[in-house]
Amino acid sequence: MALNPFFLQGSSSEQRLVQSLINEQLRMYGVEVTYIPRKLINVDNIFTEVESSKFDDNYSIEAYVNTYEGYAGGGDILTKFGMSLKDEVTLTISKERFEDFISPFLAAEPDSEVPLSTRPREGDLIYFPLGQRLFEVKFVEHEDPFYQLGKNYVYQLKCELFEYEDEVIDTSISDIDRQVEEEGYITTLRMIGVGVTAEASALINTGYIREIFLNNDGSGFTSPPLITFEDPLDNTGTTATAVGVLTTKGGITSLKEILITNAGAGYTTIPNILIQGGGGTGAAATCSINTAIVGLGSTGVTAITVDSGGAGYPLVPTVTIARPDPGATATATVGASGTITEFTITSGGQAYVAAPTVTISTPTRSGVLDSIRSVNAGSGYQVNETVRLVPNNVSMGGTEAIIRIDSVNGSGGVTGFTTVYGGYEFEVSSNPSNDFYEARGGSGSDNFRLMVDSVQTVTGTTATGTAVVSAGSTISSITITNPGSGYTKSPHADAPTVTISNENQFKNPGAVQATAVAIVNSSDQVSAIRITNPGSGYLSNPTVTISNPTTIVGIGTYQFNEVITGSDSGATARVKSWDDRSNVLKISYVSGTFREGENVVGSASSATYSVSSYSADDTYDKYTENDEIESEADDILDFTESNPFGVY
């Protein structure tokens, strides 16, 4: 039986009126909440669950709190998984307002991230500002009240508190994003604020320990044994000292090497080495002492003192001790046509026994004159004389071009010319009236002017030379075998450099470069330097160079939620917080492993610091006890077969 045709049962105008009234009521009695849609990153279609998602948009909407007496749900309870908050809330929002102001934006998002845009969705978040809580929509009720005047006007969102894992919440509203600043899995990067290069100095002496031979590495050590040397016989020298370094292979701990802390002085006979303590047995070592080297000093590096430990060394820096026999150095003179005309030895070096290789830098010049033409012939010039062109705005010398005059007219005006040397750093002239180059030098009175139509980059021919070793084992001269071409004159920065090889094959074998290794303490400072080879043939105290820390000065301030990237490891994470006093960076959402010593760069702030240490333990979550359990278990568990649960 049909409905009574004399009643409307809800006309569209009535429905619009009701919707408007509801919208108005919500605006008067509601609370302004933030609707945060879930964007899907990765969905498992077998288990039907969203593995990764992000929340980076926000939409304000007014909502009425149905449960006005307080949150529904179970309240705060203690579970075996720690404190759990079971608060629930039911919010009513206007259907029309959602469809007009939120749906169109959701529809613009890619379907893979936001597959449904026409209605509020389960799984989306609502930020409830009164309680500063993030609620997750559990169920959307669209038929309560039930079809008043033939239509539904509101959605009821049944929500409960969000269960957080590692979702990115980056809505750009700080109040919301910071709600999860201390939630989830948070680990610690300790950064280096200021790095300072360490400094050390070396002492040389005679009659020192030249080399230690570990004849038997022993076994069963639990701590490094004490290494002692016999005193020098005449009791006037210095007793050598050394430390043992242990290594463990196949469950057996033995001596790996013996590093010298002081190579001693005044030894005339080979001292015995005692290896005592450390719980091990069987280790034995002998050593050699140096003998004087003909033509060279009879000293080696016997001790290295750390003058300044520096700062910011999470990794062991390299230590370089200068050679006992400095290499020769030389300079090259460039002639007018860009060829090498002469080599000058600035230092002859020492201990050369064979002619070392000589390497001259490759000539490369840009802005070399290519095509030029006369804009003013000038007067008073003579055939075959040369004039110079100097590039504009160039303060450095060695760049001028050289032009030879081939023919002149009756008044000495230039009618023909040739570029002898194309110079360097010229620019193309824009117009002949006020952008030209004026010739300098020569006998002309009214200046000859040229404009540059094009310039080129010229790679010349590399010069070669042969070093000559003198009777005193120094380099006395370098003979030019090929003068090369296209070189730039000094003092320009690109003037040729001459490198004379200083490698062992050309040197007296008695001159041996000392080597050493640095020891870094837990404060990231160089605490000591141990000598691995005292070298020989030194005449004076060599310089000791310690490589720079990765970061000399950390810069910037990491921003909350920005992505940081390790420059070396490529590991990424998001910033939870940054403390610039203690240089502690709390991070979450970690992918990969940060390495000590690498730089970590913030994507938004560009802040850059280098890593002192990384700890994968969450020491901030008050529920988590992993770290405490592990440190207590370390004392009582015998994990000689290593923790099998150690690797993912």
Partner: protein, 348 residues
């Protein structure tokens, strides 16, 4: 009757050891291109807690924005029971030494099984499976861990952790008023041992044995004539005292050894090189002639620079219980007619 105070914290140590098995488990999430997005070291804690402490620590801010963060694991001990299958006689004792090398007497431990429950709560089924797969392969069905149950006597025991059962709860059905909860529960049994009090033992190393022989069984009239004495001798250099250094490499059979200095060594002295004991039969200023592989030791090869340690009475006095040692015997003959007084330790 009971009530001698002792507390070895064995149950606590078993709880900690059980927990540490699971404290390095990770969950990884990937993006749509199978590239790593994030990894989480799964938080682990002993479940039972003092309520007020849990509240003030975990909810210092009353307005907490989220319910909790997942995944999480908790474990708890839920059962203690006697294990008759591992019973040994309760009157048996064994002797051991403490940190100061004093001998201690310990009764055999009592076998107890501790029941444990490991709960894993995750937001995603995939997370739970990642965790479970990192645990289960190690239990067939037991996994042994070695725990130092009593540190004062260095008592280490292998404690098998047996995986008894696995169950899980996945409430995905029903209306939308309750959230899906994914909880895996693993039941374990740790077969540990409980020790009673550790008593001091009156035992120690016998430093000297002396036997006087009489010529007759009538000890009142007859006189003793022979005395046999045995004392322990050290087999290693305890005091790091006098020594020389080998000045050559020594093979397995060589008996004349060149050393740097023989002034501290005498004929008939025993020396130890690495673990081989030798007896000196002759010496010059820089060589010693030795009897190799003395005192049942095994001859070995020795490198130049190795220490030749003198074993003397100072080392003998430092022998500690538990070390192996040899014996020095002597026999004396008497004609004086004196008797030995055990209390005054003199011949009277």
């Amino acid at each position: 009757m009971l009530g001698t105070y002792f507390y070895h914290e064995i149950v606590r140590k078993t709880v900690v050891s059980f927990g540490t098995l699971f404290n390095n488990i990770y969950v990884k999430h990937k993006d749509g291109n199978n590239a790593d997005l994030s990894e989480i070291k799964v938080p682990l804690a002993y479940g039972p807690a003092q309520k007020f402490l849990a509240r003030i620590e975990q909810q210092a801010e009353l307005n907490k924005a989220v319910t909790m963060s997942l995944p999480r694991m908790s474990f708890e001990m839920n059962n203690i029971s006697y294990d008759p299958s591992r019973k040994v006689s309760v009157t048996q004792t064994f002797k051991t030494t403490d940190d100061n090398n004093r001998i201690k007497k310990v009764f055999m431990p009592v076998p107890y099984n501790l029941g444990f429950e490991l709960n894993i709560m995750t937001k995603l089924n995939d997370d739970a499976l990642q965790i479970i797969e990192q645990i289960l392969p190690y239990f067939q069905p037991a996994f042994n861990i070695t725990i130092e149950l009593i540190d004062s006597i260095g008592e280490k025991r292998d404690v098998p952790i047996v995986l008894d059962s696995i169950s899980f709860q996945d409430d995905y059905e029903g209306d939308f008023s309750t959230r899906r909860a994914l909880i895996y529960t693993l039941q374990f049994t740790a077969k540990t041992y409980l020790f009673g009090p550790i008593a001091d033992s009156t035992d120690g190393i016998i430093r000297k044995v002396q036997v006087d022989y009489y010529t007759d069984t009538d000890t009142l009239r007859s006189k003793r004539e022979v005395r046999y004495t045995a004392t322990p001798t050290a087999r290693k250099d305890y005091d790091a005292g006098d020594h020389a250094l080998l000045a050559e490499n020594v093979d397995l059979t060589e008996t004349i050894l060149t050393v740097n200095d023989t002034s501290s060594l005498s004929v008939n002295d025993r020396v130890v090189v690495n673990s081989e004991i030798m007896k000196i039969t002759k010496k010059t200023s820089n060589t010693i002639t030795v009897k190799r592989a003395y005192d049942s030791t095994i001859a070995g090869e020795h490198s130049v620079g190795t220490k030749v340690n003198l074993l003397n009475s100072a080392d003998d006095a430092l022998i500690v219980p538990g070390d192996s040692f040899g014996f020095d015997e002597s026999t004396d003959f008497f004609e004086s007619g004196a008797d030995f007084s055990p209390t005054r330790k003199l011949d009277l």
